[in-house]
């Protein structure tokens, strides 16, 4: 279209240029014609033909006068003189006149003329002389005139011929010019005709465009009228010029009612009106734009009924001729905003759910680990007492099983972390034989209980030291062996380990075979899925979560291995697994771990712990290692004590009433007390890595898991206190608690009973302070499990939960249930 227009315009320009050139040419030619016509009309020739003939006539007049004077002697001679002068005058004209100058260049004209003039001049003395002489010379004069006659004739004829030719040339020239004029006029007419055509076509196009414009306008109107968005057009003062049907619908107003009214009074809510007016004033004053041309902006609009609702709008300026217009596109986004709000709420709920899940997981870790802590701690203490060899063996079995349970808890956490993608392999150098033997040892009693024989052995060349995630491998095998024991009665369970040769990386295959009930073929495919149990005569009596093999599968896969099962119903099963292992060198003794013997003793240690039992256990261990222990019950107490005197080491529990361990650590670090740079080690059952990050962020130096292990504690002490100058000397300091040798456990038990009784008495009075109820219930709950009263613990945890929710009716019910649980609970005992 544009290209065609360009061509058309170029064509028009060419035609115009052509027409102009024609006009110039015609002007030049007309000038020529006028000049020639003027030449013709001004005709310098004075009718030269006549003049030339006249010369001959006057010559004859002169001749006649002379002849007459000869024949009639009495005739006066003046006529002769006059005729002479007249003829003479004529020859002068021919000899001098400018129009005869081209003629005089012709010798055929000039020579006779000069001859005639000479002869006339020769006659002058006679003519001007005395009359008698003239009369006497008349005959002679007549003779001379007769001689001149031929000359005069020649002058006339040559002259006439010359001017006839000249006339011809003039005519030819004029004819040529006129012909040219005609040609150019013709061209001009053609150019004008072409221009006329062009003008006609342009007019047609204009007409066509006009129609197209009308169609486009109609189309635009249709679009405006059917637009789902409100379109409002105002002038620069904000007076409404157009208000499309969508705008009418959204704002509940009619175009005829709002035309020329100020937009601010119609659709802008009152609280935005002032800002709107200021904006319009700014725009009017200096064209400043804050909303206009800024793309989509979220604002609020107002309906006719005063309802304010969210809109999304875009305003642009437009020019309609000289007039500037503002065009606003508005969209009612109240539905969208509502949906967004719902989404945000849903997301917040989901996030809260996630948070709750994470907190639940942390709680679980804490709450399962606390009683385990008790068991393992007591086992550690019991190892130091005098035991019979049988008791020592049972001790070792119990300890292994306890540690396995702890790892099992860790494994559940691992699954959770595995699922959340936070899992990482933790490979270490392990002696496979020891691992197997420990496993078999720990499970032997269970196997014997079912009348089963349990044994293990290498097939082929043993590979003793390997790099493998031993904790997982142990858990996998424990699961498989545990299952085998569960489903086998009076049978045999054998574990075979075999290195697969060759292989890069090296792989080990471990097979756990039993002579048990076996698994139906149809069930084989699903037993590795979560929560899958197999209905079975034997298993019904033992039950299970159905999680075990799912965890096993995950771990094997995470270790880059594979697992499978072969089974015949009624004959037994063989679970096999293949995992890559890296053969390793036997690690040097105590590699990486500092010898406990190097650990300094007589250290001043601040122990911060709210749970009495845990406190007591840690206290016993530390005092047993020869340290002086200062106790603090919560974070606030810890800060107070730490501000008074320096310590070599601070062991800080995290979850505590009044002030938690993290806050206390921050306060000690940021305060100007003597312990701002002391090693502060977190002491927590929460072993989640993200928890450890949190501890480090709060300024804690390291982490010590519960239950407290002598070896780990020794490592910490060596790491932070060996070779350091002692921060504290014994002189002038008095530990708050001295070493207790006499039955500390019994004292603890008595204390637990008295505290718990006190709690229930207090609760019976239904105290107002629900927070206090929650705190005290939590505290006792933490101990209840350790004293073999899980029912009390559950009931108190419920009390804590309800107390925190603040629902007093539920609280009364929970307290009553807790009272019942307390009464029904077995005698509290740490030993059991």
């Amino acid at each position: 279209m544009t290209l065609a227009n360009g061509f058309r315009r170029a064509g028009r320009d060419v035609l115009l240029a052509l027409a102009f050139l024609c006009l110039v040419a015609i002007a030049v030619l007309v000038k020529d014609v006028v000049k020639e016509l003027r030449f013709l009309s001004s005709a310098d020739s004075d009718n030269v033909h006549w003049t030339l003939s006249q010369a001959e006539v006057e010559f004859l007049e002169f001749r006649n006068a002379v002849n007459w004077a000869r024949t009639v002697p009495e005739t006066p001679l003046s006529t002769v003189i006059v005729e002479f002068d007249v003829f003479y005058s004529r020859t002068s004209t021919l000899a001098n006149g400018s129009q005869y100058s081209p003629l005089r260049e012709d010798p055929a004209f000039d020579a006779p003329l000069v001859e005639v003039r000479d002869r006339l001049n020769g006659m002058i003395p006679l003519i001007d002389g005395p009359r008698e002489d003239l009369r006497a010379g008349l005959d002679d004069l007549a003779a001379q005139i007769e001689d001149m006659r031929a000359l005069v004739r020649s002058i006339a004829t040559t002259g006439l011929q010359h001017f006839a030719l000249e006339s011809d040339e003039l005519r030819t020239s004029l004819a040529t010019t006129l012909l040219r004029l005609a040609v150019f006029t013709g061209l001009l007419l053609l150019a004008l005709a072409a221009l006329l055509m062009h003008a006609y076509r342009t007019a047609q196009q204009t007409d066509k465009r006009g129609k197209e414009l009308a169609i486009a306008y109609a189309r635009l109107n249709t679009i405006l009228n059917t637009s789902l968005d409100a379109v409002v057009v105002t002038d620069t003062e904000g007076r409404v010029q157009n208000f499309n049907p969508a705008a009418e619908r959204i704002f509940g107003r009619r175009l005829k009612d709002v035309r020329n009214k100020h937009i601010g009074d119609i659709i802008v809510p009152e609280h935005l009106r002032e800002a709107h007016d200021r904006g319009m004033a700014r725009f009017a004053a200096d064209g400043e734009r804050r909303v206009i041309g800024q793309g989509r902006v979220k604002l609020e609009g107002m309906r006719a009924n005063g309802e304010v609702f969210p809109v999304e709008l875009a305003i642009e300026t437009a020019h309609a001729g000289e007039e500037q217009l503002l065009v606003a596109f508005l969209r009612d986004i109240s539905h969208r905003v509502a949906s967004e709000n719902e989404l945000v709420q849903a997301r917040d709920k989901a996030l809260a759910g996630e948070q709750a899940k994470a907190e639940f997981l942390a709680m679980m870790t804490h709450e399962i680990r606390t009683p385990l802590n008790g068991i393992l701690g007591n086992l550690s203490l019991m190892e130091d007492t005098k035991l019979s060899s049988d008791q020592a063996r049972y001790m070792r079995n119990m300890k292994i099983s306890g540690e396995l349970l702890m790892r099992h808890v860790d494994a559940v956490l691992d699954v959770a972390r595995f699922e959340s993608g936070a899992d990482t392999a933790q490979e270490d150098v392990t002696h496979l034989g020891h691992l197997m033997q420990d496993l078999v040892d720990s499970q032997t009693s269970a196997a014997h209980a079912h009348g089963n024989a349990l044994q293990w052995g290498w097939v082929g060349t043993p590979e003793e030291w390997v790099e493998v995630d031993s904790s997982r491998l142990q858990q996998i095998l424990l699961n498989l062996v545990g299952n085998a024991i569960k489903f086998t009665r009076e049978g045999r369970i054998s574990i075979e380990a075999e290195m697969i040769e060759p292989g890069e990386p090296a792989q080990i295959e471990i097979r756990v075979s039993d002579t048990g009930s076996g698994i139906a073929e149809g069930d084989l495919a699903r037993i590795f899925e979560d929560f899958q149990t197999v209905s079975h005569q034997v298993s019904d009596s033992v039950g299970g979560t159905g999680l075990g093999l799912g965890i096993v599968r995950r771990f094997v896969q995470a270790m880059g291995g594979e697992i499978g099962v072969e089974s015949t119903l009624g004959e037994g099963s063989t679970f096999w697994l293949r995992i890559p292992v890296m053969p390793a060198e036997e690690p040097s003794e105590d590699k990486g771990a500092l010898p406990e013997s190097e650990a300094p003793s007589d250290l001043e240690i601040l122990l911060v712990e709210d749970n009495d039992i845990n406190m007591q256990l840690a206290y016993e261990v530390l005092v047993g290692m020869g340290h002086h222990v200062t106790e603090a019950r919560d974070g606030q107490e810890a800060v107070d004590v730490a501000n008074k005197r320096p310590f070599d080491l601070v062991l800080m529990d995290i979850r505590m009433p009044v002030m938690d361990g993290l806050t206390a650590t921050k306060m000690i670090r940021e305060g100007d007390g003597p312990n701002w740079d002391a090693p502060i080690v977190a002491f927590s059952a929460n072993v989640l890595p993200e928890a450890r990050d949190r501890f480090a962020a709060a300024g804690m130096s390291d982490f010590l898991g519960k239950p407290l292990q002598r070896s780990e504690l020794a490592q910490i002490i060596v790491r932070f206190c060996a070779g350091r100058e002692r921060r504290v000397t014994l002189d002038g300091t008095t530990p708050l608690l001295v070493k207790k040798k006499e039955s500390p456990m019994e004292k603890l038990r008595a204390r637990y009973i008295s505290e718990t009784s006190a709690l229930f008495e207090w609760l019976a009075g239904l105290p107002e302070d629900t927070q206090a109820i929650a705190n005290r219930a939590h505290q006792i709950a933490g101990s209840a499990a350790a004293f073999g009263q899980p029912g009390v613990r559950e009931a108190l945890l419920l009390v804590e939960q309800v107390a925190e929710s603040g629902d007093r009716e539920d609280l009364v019910i929970a307290i009553n249930e807790a009272q019942a649980a307390w009464k029904a609970a077995p005698e509290p005992s740490l030993i059991s």
Binding site: L40, S42, D44, V86, N96, G97
Partner: protein
Amino acid sequence: MKAGRMYKLIERFAGAAGLLLIFGATSVAAGTLEEPTGPVLLTISGEIENTNGEGTAAFDLEMLRALGATEVTTDTIWTPGTITFTGVELKTLLEHVGATGTEIDATAINNYTVVVPVEDAVEDGPILAYEMDGRLMSRRDKGPLWLIYPYASNAAYRTEVIYSRSIWQLDRMAID
């Protein structure tokens, strides 16, 4: 030829203007003119009001000079170079004799006659020249009187018609 017609039109307008002037000049009282004392150069007859003979007005050189000398400097197609002619304006002369006609039959000494319309007699128009470059014109030099139009100063005078009216060796004028 169109252009030629146009010039004729111009002449006619110019003539009409001249006529007006002539009529304006007829207020000069009819009467007798003084008698010529020298040789008579020009005799005017016909429709005139002022005479010094039998219905004629005869002029010698002195009488013509007395009417006021006008100079016309021009080239002509009959003479070489540029020439200054001295003479009396035709307009002045016609007013002087109280001419009332529309045409002048101007006749030369050899009875060659041309018709000059009275309209030609305008201010800065033709003169009856008696001097050429300050010298009286002899008969042999187209004297004694030569009707000269100012050809150089007005293109309208450079036409064949005007050239044909430029009569030399003039000695009689009859006003019709």
